[in-house]
Every structure is written in structure tokens, then in C-alpha cells.
Symmetry: D2
Subunit: 427 residues, 4 copies
């Protein structure tokens, strides 16, 4: 089951009057402020976020998992689900695959299917944190950092295969997240583990096609609860710098110690021209993988403020960033959850585009702290939802995606088609 342009337009019809009124009012206000409304809408329309293939089913915790029903059973159904979200939101124009969970049997067929939904293939993701059935050697004690050279080789080869698969689909980057680390003091020689990891990453980097980029994630803990080899942005940055020009640090919002100033990390990486991309989610405690913007929306805005300002003054030629949602949907319908995330991301982006950078720069140069805060909060407190809706409408999306999704009874249809107890591959 798919959703048609016609269905969306029809549903929009009944809400257009109210939307237009709200949009007019907001537009006038923004024009008064001297903001180029159409240009901003254009920027919003072009802002596309990748959906990870593993986020389309119900996630879980170590304590259990509760099925939502109608979850995609294979890669085609996952692409279908991303297509559904994209049709409604016009902001999820790509998918990020996780190998080996989503190895396509036939790349051409899958590309054609994705194409029909307007979906591209974003960064591909390797998995060396779990043992797959029939896997020769175990990653129990690490992969790229392992003391055993043959296990490192197996992990490096896996990454090369992931690149091959990505190439066949049109991906242009590989994201490496490592669980490698230790559960207890003494277990690892930190220096040697880091050196071995660097060696493995260099091998992968050598294999990278010349138009590809390598993204290196960092994370302080989990699943290892004493140390993680790539524990912070500083370590990731060291490794990326040693690998070469096309290696970058990737920031997952949930991969930080309590109280970390993430926006400053983002800014520092742009300063070095080494920010590769983002995994969006939100969290209160650790890597909680909650809906984007559900816990700390102001922090999300502050991060976007750095991105907008940093990329506008991009002296280090930081390349365009990779955007992906990386959340786990334990209680909500994953598709609804993703649409809430997409809305929160666009909203933060729109707010950041609203910031009066010139006045902010003036306030900063005179250390007018009160005024700097006023300027940021003025943008943040503005209700820019009509702008988001207008951008979506102009792209052919739904004014109110979740409402339409519900009105059309989509989850029920999916349950009927796919069954109640499906488990998405990889979950």
C-alpha cells in the first residue's frame, strides 16, 4: 500500500484556508524583519534527512521488546516505509542501510524501487558489534581493535564489502561505529587498542572509492561499560586526521557524557573542516535514542545555529554534511515517531535560519550578553510551523503528516499486509 499525491492533495485541501491565514501572518512578520522568506522556504525544502533502515520497526532494550505490528520484513518493505514518510513529509529523501541486516539481493531492483519513491541511498553502515550466524570469528572482544589480527582482518573485510554494496546502490560514504572497548579496568591496553584501531581504519580508508567519505563515530560507553576505544570527538578527530582528507568525525547527539556542550564540539569540528555529519535523536540520561526534539529542543536549536553560521562562514571548506535520524522506537509507531523527528529537525533548522546573525555578531563584539540571548531566543520563540508546512506543501507533501497518516489508517493496513508479530531485520 502506498500513498498517492492525490490523497495528500485532497487531505491538504480542507486545511488550506487555515494554513494560508497563518502563513500570511508569519510571512508578513518575517518580511518586516527583512528576512528572505522564499529563500528560507527553499532551503527548508532542500533539507533532506536520511532514515536508517533499522528504525522502521519497534526497537527494544536489554529488558525486552514490544512489537508494534506491521513492521517491514525485508529491505523492500523498509524502502516502502521510507517512501511513505517521504511522500507525507517531503523531507526524508534517503535511506541509510545497515549491513548485514539489509543486504540487497539485487542492487538494480532495489535502486529502481527506491527511485520510484524518490529515495536515494545515503551513508552505508557496517556492523562489527554483533556476531552473525555463520560468522567465523567472534567480535566479543572487539573488531577493528582486536588483539587477534585475523579478527581485525575479518572486520576490515566486512567494511570493504559494505563499501561494495554501497557502491552498487549509489552511496557515497561509509559510517563506522565501533562498540570496541572494555568492560573492566585492565582488560585493554588503551594505547595499543587505539593503535590497532587506527591501523584497521587506514586499511578501510585505502579501499574507499575516491569520491567517498569515511565517517568515524565516537561514543563514551555502551555496550562496553568501562571504556570505548573511540570515546570522544577528540579521539575520533585524531583518527580521522591520521586517516586522511576524506575521513571525518560523525556526531551522534546521544553519544556524550552528561552535560556535554555538543554545539561547541560541532563548532570546533567545522573550524577544522572535519565535521562529517549527524545522527539525530534526543536523550535525558544516556544514548536513550528518543524522538528528536522531545527532551531538549533548545539544545537542538543551538546546534543548528552553529551549523548554519559555521557553514555560512566555512573557511576550512567543510564539505556538506550527512544528516540521519538514529532513534529507537520502543513505544511509538516508528513511522509516527520518525515524522515527529523530522518536524523537530526542520523546526530547529528554520529557527536557526531566522537568527539575525548580523545583530548577534554586533552583540558579541561588544559583549552584550543580554542582547545575544535576546536575539537567539527571539528566533527560538517564534512559531515557525506555518513556514515548515508551506515548505512541505510546495514540495507536494502533507500539511499535517501524522494526522493524514492516521486518517488513512496506514498502520492498520500495514498490520494487515505484514502481520502482527513481524520483526524488522536487525531488531
Amino acid at each position: 500500500m502506498s500513498i498517492t499525491k492525490e490523497q495528500i492533495d485532497n487531505a491538504n485541501q480542507g486545511m488550506m484556508a487555515q494554513h494560508e491565514t497563518e502563513f500570511q501572518v508569519l510571512q508578513s512578520r518575517l518580511v518586516e524583519k527583512g528576512l528572505p522568506v522564499d529563500h528560507i522556504i527553499d532551503q527548508l525544502q532542500h533539507f533532506q534527512v536520511a532514515i536508517p533502515s533499522w528504525a522502521l520497526g519497534a526497537g527494544g532494550t536489554r529488558f525486552g521488546r514490544f512489537s508494534i505490528g506491521g513492521e517491514p520484513r525485508n529491505l523492500s518493505e523498509k524502502i516502502h516505509d521510507v517512501g511513505l514518510i517521504h511522500a507525507l513529509t517531503q523531507s526524508a529523501g534517503s535511506i541509510s542501510l545497515h549491513i548485514p541486516w539489509d543486504i540487497p539481493e539485487d542492487a538494480t531492483t532495489i535502486r529502481t524501487l527506491a527511485d520510484s519513491h524518490g529515495i536515494l541511498f545515503d551513508a552505508v553502515n557496517s556492523n562489527t558489534f554483533q556476531d552473525q550466524i555463520n560468522q567465523t570469528l567472534s567480535y566479543k572482544f572487539g573488531s577493528l581493535c582486536h588483539t587477534d589480527a585475523s579478527i581485525r582482518a575479518q572486520a576490515v573485510n566486512h567494511c570493504k564489502e559494505v563499501i561494495d554494496i554501497g557502491q552498487a546502490l549509489g552511496s557515497k560514504s561509509l559510517t563506522v561505529w565501533l562498540a570496541d572497548g572494555s568492560a573492566f579496568p585492565g582488560q585493554l591496553n588503551f594505547r595499543e587498542a587505539l593503535e590497532r584501531t587506527l591501523g584497521s581504519l587506514k586499511e578501510i580508508y585505502q579501499y574507499l572509492p575516491s569520491d567517498w567519505r569515511l565517517f568515524i563515530e565516537y561514543k563514551p560507553y555502551e555496550p562496553n561499560f568501562y571504556s570505548t576505544v573511540i570515546q570522544d570527538w577528540g579521539t575520533s578527530h585524531l583518527l580521522a586526521s591520521e586517516c586522511g582528507e576524506r575521513a571525518y568525525t560523525l556526531v551522534d547527539l546521544g553519544h556524550h557524557l552528561p552535560n556535554t556542550n555538543i554545539e561547541q564540539i560541532v563548532s570546533t569540528l567545522i573550524w577544522r573542516g572535519k565535521l562529517g555529519g549527524f545522527h539525530f535523536n534526543d536523550s535525558k540520561y544516556g544514548d536513550d535514542d528518543l524522538t528528536v526534539g522531545s527532551i531538549k529542543p533548545y539544545q537542538l536549536f543551538l546546534i543548528f545555529n552553529e551549523l548554519v553560521e559555521g557553514m555560512a562562514n566555512n573557511k576550512s571548506n567543510n564539505p556538506p554534511l550527512a544528516w540521519m535520524i538514529d532513534a529507537s522506537h520502543n513505544l511509538k509507531d516508528p513511522l509516527e515517531d520518525l515524522m515527529q523527528s523530522l518536524e523537530a529537525i526542520r523546526l530547529a533548522y528554520a529557527q536557526a535560519l531566522m537568527v539575525d546573525q548580523q545583530r548577534l555578531q554586533e552583540a558579541r563584539s561588544t559583549n552584550d550578553v543580554t542582547m545575544a540571548q535576546e536575539i537567539l531566543q527571539d528566533a527560538y520563540r517564534s512559531d515557525l510551523r506555518p513556514l515548515i508546512r508551506e515548505a512541505r506543501r510546495r514540495s507536494g507533501g502533507a500539511l499535517h503528516p501524522i494526522a493524514q497518516y492516521r486518517r488513512l489508517g496506514m498502520r492498520e493496513v500495514l498490520r494487515e499486509q505484514r502481520g502482527l508479530n513481524t520483526v524488522a531485520t536487525g531488531l
Copy 2:
């Protein structure tokens, strides 16, 4: 396969000379300090910690699980494993069952088996955080706090059944840990959820045999990542107080926010006569469930210092405490891990028994902060391992349990007997 008294004695034989030398030296030093060495050894011998039935196999994280091999496949094998640990350490004289993972088919048979290993049945644990196959209603959105009265009733009934099973085995307490909470702001009405939880707990309390106690755990987060109904000791204490005299708070060392002063919580609960017991583990980040004493051994000592002093000045008639290890063994052999935990617990207890309480009290009364620290650190820095070994030896255990376990090749035997890819029930 079991381990015999003879095997243990034989192995001890070769290490007795060194042990006796070390023990004599320590004994002299302690006697000089005026400490009643034999009495302390006696206290150590009597200090028994329960092993939870779910800790005998390899645990895991939401990212995966790596088997250790030879894991117990049923309750009998679990009891066997606890028996093995107890034979070697003489400090693991009970098991704490988790229902429904460990429902005995025949209580008498199981009691007899446990008896043969010198194992008692400690607190029984309910499980209302997962859905079991064939379960009528789902705990996805909570159990004792659920908005739906029929789901609350199902959860309450489950707890009653757990009590029944416990009674048949000789348990005297029920431990309730609830995952109930919310993943997102707005999901729960906090007040009403707490009130419903209290209502359910009261029903369970009513059902409690008159010689039983109810232990109520608290935890700030996980598996719910926005709120947990019983988020801290204050909430648990409120609920226990409302339930009645035989309801107590249970402290799991991993269930606290970063930097919490746990020893002070312990002290406060003893002051109120409301401390029920402990779940021991260690952690660096969250509920990491690492080996006891592997990360913060000084904190463990400080906690025991409160326990020893508090129970010695027990004006509120706090009943004897329930002790249990609650760790997850992701990388180590679970039995080795448990023996390391038992050693760390006994060591912290011995150190606490060493504290010169009278001099400490004097230092406190004159606010001699330097001296108070000196007194605590003097006890902590003492090497009391010979004392632990002597206590173990006197009880018939091994001088060096892990070394003996390895020398006898026990894991290999278990793997042979049970297979390489077993999964303990509940994991």
C-alpha cells in the same frame, strides 16, 4: 559435575603454608590494635550473599549477546552452579529466583536439590517488565501503574503467584522491581501513575504471608528513558511507608543518578528502620551491572561502613538485611565473575569491621576531619585478604576459589555437559 570437599581440601593443602604465614602476620597486627580477630572471622563466615538465578548465564546488551558456553539450561542446573560457587567460596548460601523464568516444576525436588548444596531460597523476584509468550495482556505501557485496571490486576496476580512459589520453597520476601514509567514527556500523569502503583502494591502487601517482607526497588531510568514511576529512594520509601510495617526499600547500587551519595541514602533508611536489602554490582555510567568492586571499591567500603555502624546502633529496629548480587556477565565467565564479586563484598565488609568506631566517633565529635579520614583509610588500606581466606578455609571453602575453579577445568566440563550455545532461561 560437582566439586567435593576433598578436592577443595587437597587444593588448599599446597597453599596452606603461605596462607598461614600471611594470616599470622595480619592476625598479630589486628590483635595489637585490639581487634577480636576470631569474632570478625565468625562474622565473615556468617555473611552470606544470594546469587540471582539470572546471573548464571552470559548477559547481554541491546546490541547483542555473546555466549560463554556451558550455561545452565534450567533451574536445577542453576542451583548446581550456585552450589559450585558456594562450595568454593562458602559465601553464596542462597539463590534468588526470578519468576516466570525459574518456576520449579516440583518444589520439593528443587528444595531437596538446593538443600544438598547447602543453598537456601532468598527473596523471590517478580517480572512485570516483559511480555511472556501466552501472556494475555501486555506490559508495554506499564504494569502496577497501568491505566487499565485489568492489566494492573494481571500484574498483581502475577506477584501473588510469585509469593506462592516462594512459599513452597521457603523464601521469606518478595522483591518488586518495576520498569513502569514513560519514554516521553506527556505520556504519564505522574501523580495518578504513582497512586495506581501504590494501590497495586497495597494489594500485593495484603497477600503477603505474615512472616514475609516486601522489598520495593527504585531506579531513575532504563528501560524507560524519560521517567520511572519509582525513580528514587524517596519515592520507594513513601510507598513502603504507606504499604505498612513489613514493606522496605531495596537499594541496587546501579540504580542512581551520576554522583549520588549512596552511603548517605543507606544511612537515612537505617535511621528510619526501612532498609530492606541490597543488590550489589558496580558501575561507571549507569546501571552497568559490572562485577562488584571493579570500579568504585572505596564507595563499596563506605557503604559497608554505614551498614556496620548503622546496624550496631540500630535504634529503629531495622531488620536484618537481604544481600544479593545483581550483575550482568557479558564478557567474563559468570561463575568467575560472581566469585570476584563475592570476594569484593567480603573484603569491604571486613574493612568496615576493622574501622575503629570509637576513635572515629571522637574525631567526629571534635570535627577533626583529617583524623576521621585517616581512620577510615587505615581500615581500607589494610590488606585483609588473609582474613577472608581464613574465614573461607574455616567454613570448608577454597583458599583461592577462582584458581581452583580454573585448575579443575570446570567451565570446560560444563560446556561438555551442557553444550556451547546454551542460553540460560530469561536471557
Copy 3:
């Protein structure tokens, strides 16, 4: 120098056209939603927050303090400054005094002065965390918890004097914040310290006039960095319950461990009828005492959501709450900073009043987590500033308080009148 109603009206004049347009649009939208706009404005007008007497000068850290100039040199000047803020914002209708920093020489004169500004006297605050010149005994090792009975007596007597001073001014409550605790393990016997604290508090409670309330603050750390006697809400609640009916817990937003779910604590205390009031501020790391709403505005909204809903369903007869700002102004002009805080508080309150409680309740009863979040975010994402301005305007305040404060060059005037290097008493 003061600000007159005429000055404010004149300044408003030029901005009325824009305000009215914006207000009309918002009003229509709210009316459409079925919201009683005038009633909400009325609630906003009545929402008054106390200004603490110590927040009117530049604060500092242990590393230093930078003067802002023109700071109030005595109580009269402090009241004048609160009067200024109140004239502009119409939301700071009371002052909270700190004794001994602000002992009035003549209570009647001070009351008359406050009266002339429309300022009441809110809770009075004791200080037993510092030694004053000529103080007989030192609080170095605690006050209400001290091992020495004569020091406890001195501290209790101080609190009684604070009550006397408060009575002369028309205050109706005493707020007790204790630094009492320990810097090192071993220093304190936790149980005895808590027991002594309870004894002291009971003495103070006995002295309390019958129409007064006692507010007991909690804080996990600072200035003591190992333990604090009243470390959390659970301990405060215990003490308040033991003291009696008119003793309550007071929540300072900055007094929590990392990641604490404060809104849940608020809700629990209302459930018990034991929430006394709030100290507002914001923080990223610890008790940072930053401008309200400058770091986590969504959390502030969630807290207000609990307050609004809780007080509307107030089954435990929780009395009306005491509201106070408690921030430290290290870099900003304190008066501007306070006006930003007042705005953030009113905004969060307005957003909470906007929440569609009935639909929220429905979503909760069906565990529609997506919808519950949508409902909260709809309120939070609305731009309610025109409503705040309208409430202020109706009360006779300024449409844009900070802008007017700056246009009138008030800080410059204060500097001229009071000098550049003044230090507010107590700083």
C-alpha cells in the same frame, strides 16, 4: 531615580500598533481553540514572582567577581531596584530578604517604601552557612546539624530572629537552606547529623507564628563536596513531615544531580500536599544559577505543566506556592537578567495554561504516546509572547521592559547615583 507610569505609557505608545496586530492574531487562534483568553491573561497578571534581595548586585564565583556598577548599597536601594523591575514588568511584586544581609533599621519605614512600589515581603531567608563579623561561634562545621549543642542553639536563635524580622515586615514564611554537610568521607555520622538537624528544625517550627509556613530546601552538593545533610527531596520531605503540617519542601531548580527528572519530583510533592515553593534559575552543570529559561526552557515548561495540572486537581490541599527567582548575575546587568527570567517564567506558565488537558488525559488513558507529545509540543511551540505583553500592558507595565530600561539609560543613572564600585550587601 524612578520610572513613572507616564514614561512607560509613552514608550508603549509607539509600539502599540504592532502589538495589537500580533495580539489580535494570537487571540483569534486561541479563541478558535476554545481557550478563555481573558481568563488566561488574568491568571498571568496575577502571577507574581519574588525577587531575592541578594540578586540585585553582581554575583561571583570562587574565582572572582566583576562589578557591574550602580549596585544597591543598602536595603532601600534594593527595594528601589525591585520597584523598577516591577514597574516595567508588573510581575515582580515582592522581595525576599536575606538575613543578616538585609536587616532593616526601621521596619515601618521600609514597609512604607516597599508599599510605595507595590512590593510585598515574601519568605525571609536565614543564613547559617557563613560566619558574620562578631559572630560568637563558627558555622565552619555546620549549623543546625552541628555536633556542638551551643552552635545549634545559636543557629536556631538566628532563625527565630529572622522570623521576628519577617513578622515586622509582613512576611508569612521562612525558607531554610542549609550548607550543613561534610567535605570528606568519615567526617559526619550521617544518621546523627540528620537527627540533630531534625531536632533543630522542630525548635524553629515551634517558634513559627501560626499563619506562617516553613520551607526546607535540599541540595546534593556545594559548598560541601562529599555530603549534604538535606541532600534530596526525599530527605527534605521526611524532615518536613516530622516537623508538622506547615512545613514544606522547597524546590530550587539548580539543586539536583545530573539528569534528574525535576517535574516528577514536583508532581510527587503536590500529590503529598507538601510542595512549598520554587527557586527559579537555570543550569547546565550544577547549581549554575543562570537566567531562568536560558538553558532548558522545555524542562521549565514541563515543570509548569505539572504545577498547573497539579494545582487544578489539588486533592491533597497543597497550599498556594511561593515563587522566587534565585540566580546569580555574574556577567549581565542584574536587572536585565531578572527581567529575562521573569519573561521566561511567564512564558512557561502561559504555555502550560495552553495545554489541552482534556485531550492530554484522553491520550494518556489510551497510551497514545505520539499524541501526548503532540499536545504538549503544540502548546510549547506556540508563540505566546503577545499574550504576555498584553497581560503586562493591562497591568500598566511596559510592552518591552528591557528595551525601555535601556532606552531610559537606567543603569547609567544608577551608576551615576551610586558609583561604579559598589558591592551589594551580602555579595
Copy 4:
């Protein structure tokens, strides 16, 4: 008043018998293990830690300060106090000055005085986080990062003066700790602030004598509570790398976010040859500046374990490290507190020297996690105090420094000589 070699020897006399017994027993045990006892003692004797000039008086918090009495009133008295500690402990052979608090009037006189106590001058410290009386421009909004070039120039010049002063005294390094940062979102342009800081540091680096090193500290927060320009080791490392070969990162144990794995940071910096030195202290919550080893002694041991192993396998030619205590003494006698810190440091170092690195390496290479932990804990649980005492005795120090300090009534003498209400410069 000073302490003589004779006084120390006399006092030792009475305790020699017990010491020798204890030392013999330990020695035998270590020899059995194949450890080179005399070599280890020699390493301990050579391990000297600098005392910062600001740590000799009572510190304080933003809430107040309590005098201890007898505090040093000038640089000479500070050197005298370090001399006292060094005479007793033989492990505090240098002092680290803080400018402008400790500018010597005459360098030669001061050097001679220090010499007479066997005290060298370690790293000098700049202060650009406070405004001094008569200072032209304010550091309120930063120093090396300031938007105003003339303020940056003033701060750079200050650092040059500090180098000059250090040269006259024989120091060989400059430690720069910056409070520079922001209190509120929006205040700073992170990128530009970092770039300006780098520019200023480069100027200072250029001025550095060729045999000097530059140490760059990092800290996540305080006194700025939103952002700090050099927030973590990654940022410090970036800046040090850009400055040049002789610029290094300095680790202060208290300057980390909650739960940071500091030992891993230490290891990574050694791997890069970029670890400059340490500021030792301990903490439970933030930069609490407590006595070393008073809260997390096991973490201290793990850090030393990295240092010992890292410097023994120093492939990147990391230069010898600078060691300094950096604590604040709010409640204890500062000299006693420092002696407790020195003891804890030497103990952790001795434990690390005890680790059986070969067996550890074997356990690691086979991923024998249990055994790796056993090996570390075996070293940590050993009571090595007799070894520390023996090293101290061989160097001519006291067997029990604090006991001797007390027996000689030194604080009382200092109070008599210097008065009760002295305040050390800079406090």
C-alpha cells in the same frame, strides 16, 4: 619555626621497631613475587610532587571561607610551609607559583630561601581570570579569547611577565589555565573565540625560552557555566599541536564531566607524546578540589597504572611529566591535607609499580578479562604503606608525617607566629 632532621629522627626512633617488622614482611612477599624492592623504593624516593603556592592557606567557596589560622602571609612564609611538608614527607620538593599572587620582590633571596629547604621552582602559573587592583583592562569577558585585541595583548603580556619571573627562579614551564568561555548561549562565537585563543597562545609560545614547555589546561565548566573555550583534552591537544613541539596538554583530575574515563585520556596523550603533567585532587561532583585519593582511590591507581606502563613504553618520546597537587583546603589544616594527598599519590604510584605487567599483557592478549582484573586488584589490594614509609625514612623524612606534625604542635606555633586571621595572598 622549622623542623630539624634531628626532631624527625628522634620521633622516628620510637616507631622503628614496628616499621621494620612490617617492612620485612612486605619485603619478603614482594621479593617472592620477583619484584626489585630497592629499585621500587628508589623510584618512590625520586617521585616529587610540586605544591602550589595557593594551597597553603584555607580555600573557600562562593558561599564563604573559614580561616584556619597561621596561614602564610607572603611568599617566604609559603616557601617555609612547603619546606615543612618536604622535611616531613620528603616528597614535596618543589613549589609552583601563581602570578601575580606570588611575585618575589627579590628573586635571588627567594631562590636561596627555597634552596635552604631543598625546594625547586616548578611550573609557573598565569592568572587572567581575575581583575587585579590597578589592572587597566578587565578580564570579565575573557582574556586570551577576548574580542578586544588590546585585552588579549594585556593577557599575553602578563604571560610573558610570568615567564620572566619563572626564569629568574629556575622554573622551566608555564601552565596556562583559562577561565575564558561564556555564561549563556549566544554570548560567544565558538570558532572565533577558539581561533583568537590559538593566536594568543602562539604569541606566548614564541616567547617561551627554548628549554621551557607550555602546559595547556582544559576544563568543561566553572567559572563559566555555559561554555569554556578549552573545554576538553581534544581542544587542548588541538591547540598544543598547533603551537608546536614544546606545547603539551595538562590534566587536572577535577576538570572533567561526570563519569569521564580519565585514565584513557592519559593513555591517549602519552600515545601522542603530548602529555605535559598533572594537577592532582579528588572530587565527587565537579571541580571539588578535595584531598587526593579521598573519594576515588581506585581511579587514581588506574591513572598511575597508565602512567607507569605508558612511560615505560614511551614510543612517542613523551617528556617527563610535571606533577602538582591542586586542591582547595576548606575544612582541614592545609598542611595536613597536603600530606594526606602526598601519601595517596605515592601509594597509587607504588601500587602501579607493583602491577605484574607481563602477566597483564598475557591476560590481555588472550582476552582473559577475569585475570586482567585479578592482576590489577592484587596490586591495588596490597598494603604498600610500609614501602612508602621506608622510602620516606631512607630520604630522611618522618615515618608518620601527620602524627609528627601534630605532636610538634606545628599549627599552634604557626598561629602564634602569624596570627589567627591571616589570609594567604590570592585567597
